[in-house]
Structure formats: C-alpha cells, structure tokens
Symmetry: C2
Subunit: 352 residues, 2 copies
C-alpha cells in the first residue's frame, strides 16, 4: 500500500522535473491521483509514465498558455495549447464555474488538450459551490458504432455531479461503452475472458477475447447486443460537444494517448477535446429547497426494496467508499506500475 | 393510410373542443403528430385519447398560464400550470432559445406539466437557428434501478439535435432504458416475446414476457445485463434535471399518464418535469466552421466500413426517412387506434 501523500509528492516532483510550473505540477498530481482515490486504477498514477512519454515525444507542452479564444456570457472555447489535460481541464472547468456565477450556467468546450484523468473529478468541482457539474471528453478511437467494422469513437465518458444537503453528492461517471477500456486492460493482465457484449472481432462478430483490439476488433457502445445505437449516439454527442464545437480532432482523427502510435497525418483540428458545464442550482430554485429534495431523492432510492443480497446504490457510492478506504489504508499498486514509477524516479532523480 | 393533414385537422379540432385556445390547439397537434411523422407510433395520435381522458379527469388544464417563476441570464424555471405537455414544452423550449440568443446558451427546467410527446421534436427546434438543442423529460415509473425490485424511474429520454451544413442534422433521441415502453406495447399487442435484457419479473429475475409489468415486473435501464448501472445513472440525471431542479414530482412520485391510475397521494412536487437546453454554435466558433466540420463528421461515419448487409447510420436517419415517406404516403394507424379516434370524434362532434 502506498500512502496518498507519498504518491502525490512523487507525481508532483516528476511534473516539476519535466518543467511544469509549481502550481501546474500540484494541479496535475491532484487530478491524476483522484482516479486512484476513487478506485479507477487504470486512470491514476499508473498512467503517469504515459504522460511523460508523450512529453518526451514532444506531444505535451509543459508550459502552456491556456486561453479563452471565443466567449459569450455563458459559454467559452478554450485552447489548451497542448498542455497536460490534467492541467487544462481544471482551468477550463474553473471558467465554466465563473461563467455560472454570473450567468446562471457556464459551458466550455476545449481544444488542443490531451487525456484529462477521470471525468468525475472535474464535474465534482461544482459541488462545493452548490452547482451541478458536467464533464465529458473524447478519446482515442477504440469503439465501433453500431454496424461498423471501424473504430471511430473513444470510450467518451460523461460525468454529472449533483449536490445534496446531508446526503453525499450524486456523482455519475460513465464511459459510453459497455465497458471502459481500463476494465479490458485488467482482463488482459489477468488473462481472463471478457463478458459477452463488450467486444467485437475485426469482422464484426461477437468476441470474448480481451486481446481482440490488437487484431482489429473494437469495443461496443453502451447497450451492447440490445441497444448499441443508444451508446453510439451518446458517445457521438460527447465527441461533437468536445471537439466539433471547440475545433479539436474528432472521431477517428483523435490522436492516440500512447506515444508509440503516431497521431493521424491529416488532423481535422487541434489535440483532443473536452466539454465542461456548470449550473448554479439557485439559478432554478433556492439552493436549500433543491438540496433537501436531493436528500429525499437519494434516501428513497437507496432504501428501495432490492434483490436478495444487494442494495440499491446511488451513483458515486462505490467511489466514495474507495476514497475513504484509500486515504486511510493507502493505494495498492500492481508490480508493473511500481516498476514504471521507479524507472521514472531514476530517470528524473526522484525517490518513490 | 391517413394523410398527415387529415390527422392534424382532426387533432386540432379535438383540442379546440376541450377548450384549448386556437394557437395551443395548433401547437399541440404539431407536437403530437411529429411522433407519427418520425415513426414513433406509440407517442403520436394514438395517445390523443390519453390526453383527453386526463383532461376529463381534471388532470390537464386546457387554458394554462405558462410562466417563468425563476430566472438568470442563461436559465429559467417554468411552471406549466398543469397545461398539456404538448403546449408547455414548446413554450419552455422557446424560452431556452431566447436565452441562448442573448447569453450564448439557455437552460430551462419545467414543473407542473405532463407528457410532452417525443423529446427529439423539441430539441430540433434549435436547428433552424444554428443552435444545438437538448430535451429531456421524466415519466411514470416503469424502470427498476440496478438491483432494485421497485419501479422508481420512467423511461426518461434524452434528445440532442445538432445542425450541419449540407448534410441533414444529427438527431439523437433515446430512452435511457434498453427498450422504450412503446416497443413493449407493440409486442404485447402482437403477443410476441421480448428480447433478453429488456425486462425483469417482480422478484428481479430476467423475463421475456412483455406483460410482466402488469405483474409487478419492470423495464431495465440501458445497458441491461452488462451495464444497467449506466442507464440507471443517465435516467436519474434526467429525473433530477427535469424535476428536482424545477420542483416537479420525481422518481416514484411521478404521476401516471393513464387516467385510470391515480397520482400518488403524497406528491413531492407539481406534475411531471422536463428539461430543455439550447447552445448557439457560434457561441463557441463561427457557425460556418462548425457546420462544415459536422458535414465531415457525418460523411466519415456514414461511409464507415460496415458489416455485410448493413450501413452505419447517423442518429436521426431512420426518423427522417419515415418523415419523408409518411408526408408522401400518409400515416398508418392500427384498427384500435382508429376506433379510439372515431370514438373521440363522435363525442366531440368532429369527423376523422
């Protein structure tokens, strides 16, 4: 088990070592490690080496000038200047929150960014301000639209965070695919079969081979066998809000997160795209009323009559329990992840 | 086949007969029949009798004063005054569009309404203004959250309409369940089994009996066997945006659409709720740029290599083809629907 603070300090020093300003190194580490705290191991410190490799390949700018390039009272388009998505996204979300303070709501589309960690973290920034937060991003194409043999969309997550009063907040954070790519990576490592409805082979036939993507297969949109057109439509909306609105790359043109794959030679925009939203709850009704009714909503759903041995959960419940546990007991890391981090530490003269 | 104009005139006269002002009768008929034109037979003129029965039961106000009760530059809360959802929703969407003209985006939560027809119709109102339109609504509880034995959510649809330039627009309109209730009704009428993953029995076990809901069963959230927690989260977001923000009834308190079921005796709000959004595309980048890239997005996806005998569709394609066909050839009605309409006609002295 690795204490949160130890991984945080390590990560911060690595970001400082590649030239990030101190404030950005802090922000990037907080954003990155929020995934480990919330139990999304695939998106946390395990990916630190991925970001560094992209920087080494000249595909991440450690000292970006992140700026608004277009705006109205309730909207903005942000150019991330090729910075770490871990830094660009919090700045863009901040702009959405500031807009919402004045105009009731704020909506920000971002171009020229890259992987931003977990969507839920950004959406949750709204909570302490009694706002509803929304975060989405497009990502490297791994998903075949309904009937397609080609991978045209990323796992394109949608997160929505909603405050309550006494109850913990409602935090939905979901890939618009049957399964997130991180879950597939876990099956690959453990050499296990994937459940039906997650994957198709290169010829479009159903597959349970978690390595199918290496042979031209694809992840399936949410809905799998019985309604993948819905997951496809949702993933497409995320792609368009994140990238066609902002001027980032979309669909099959989204650059890969891994440094050993080159970005498409014919880009249709700049970097990858995100989309953020914030709505003040008191832009609709008094915040106190809203939060009391959210408590009632949450209590009613959580106390619903459930299947034997189960309880009805509120979106965000499992991740909150992970956070409590991991702040207390530390964060478990797989041996290959520790090896990656030690290698990084050696290269940059930082002790894990 | 019934010509569109004939059904429109009939519907308009029925709405006039129950006391709707002429403008509202026109709006309600347009909204209702947009479902028939788009091939969503369950939500069209087949439901006219349902609205009238609710009016007869004193649960719909034919002469509502629809008003903004709370607002900011980019948001509003609207009280539908118990009016037809078919009239309340277009007025609320209009408010979202007006807000967006000034503030870049507009977001409207609505209480004290009822069934609003198809979500896609309202979202599409944004298109001619070069805006992106969003529409959602909660609905009578038919859906069990993951692990629940109780029906706590409606089929809670989400619609997003996005303009393009030469290409037809992108119009996603999806229930957050595996299957819309309308599709289940079709199976009931034809006495056919339902696909796996649509339904659970009263004890939570999987079922393929389309009549299971009558015995305490439930529809399943989008994702079915492999990810129903995602559909549950999306349906919950729709419920909260539509009803907790506005002050309508939410979750199991949403009043039923059918007049023979009484509304819950302990309401937590007023009527049912909707949520509408509008974003000017030129609030993010020049509209011309955006629309050219949408053309490119649509063309690339539509020309994707597809499974034998299939083509990759763009959300909205099937509904657009229905509209073209039905405007030309007329709208098919099932015999029981014709009988309902003739009965209505007799009662109100209107010829079908």
């Amino acid at each position: 088990m690795y204490p949160y603070q130890r991984l945080f300090d390590f990560s911060r020093q690595i970001f400082l070592a590649i030239g990030c300003p101190p404030e950005d190194a802090q922000t990037a580490s907080e954003t990155l490690l929020s995934a480990d705290l919330r139990g999304v191991d695939s998106h946390g410190v395990a990916r630190l080496i991925g970001y560094i490799r992209l920087w080494e390949a000249g595909r991440i700018n450690a000292t970006p000038t992140i700026r608004i390039v277009h705006e109205t009272p309730s909207t903005a388009t942000v150019n991330g200047d090729g910075g770490l998505g871990l830094v660009v996204a919090p700045k863009a979300m901040q702009i959405a929150l500031e807009k919402a303070k004045v105009a009731g709501s704020g909506w920000v589309s971002v171009k020229n960014s890259n992987h931003f960690g977990i969507a839920g973290y950004h959406a949750m920034k709204a909570l302490e301000l009694d706002m509803i937060g929304v975060a989405m991003t497009n990502a490297s194409p791994l998903v075949a639209p309904t009937y397609s043999l080609e991978r045209l969309l990323g796992t394109n997550p949608i997160a929505v965070a909603i405050p309550a009063k006494e109850q913990p907040p409602f935090v939905a954070d979901l890939a618009t695919t049957t399964a997130a790519n991180g879950k597939l990576e876990m099956l690959q490592r453990k050499n296990l079969e994937a459940p039906h409805g997650w994957i198709q082979a290169v010829d479009g036939s159903p597959s349970i081979n978690p390595n199918e993507l290496k042979d031209g297969g694809a992840l399936l949109p949410l809905g799998g066998d019985t309604g993948s057109h819905k997951g496809y439509a949702l993933g497409a909306v995320v792609d368009i809000f994140s990238a066609v609105l902002s001027g980032a790359n979309y669909g099959p043109w989204v650059p890969p997160f891994v440094s050993f794959l080159a970005p498409p030679a014919d880009p249709v925009g700049e970097g990858i795209g995100h989309f953020f939203g914030a709505m003040r709850v008191d832009a609709f009704r008094p915040a106190e009323d809203f939060k009391l009714h959210m408590d009632n909503w949450i209590t009613r759903f959580r106390s619903s009559k459930a299947k034997e041995g189960h309880q009805v959960l509120i979106p965000g419940d499992p991740e909150r329990l992970f956070t409590e546990q991991r702040l207390k007991e530390g964060i478990p890391l797989l041996p290959p992840v520790v090896k990656d981090l030690e290698g990084l530490g050696e290269k940059f003269g930082v002790t894990l």
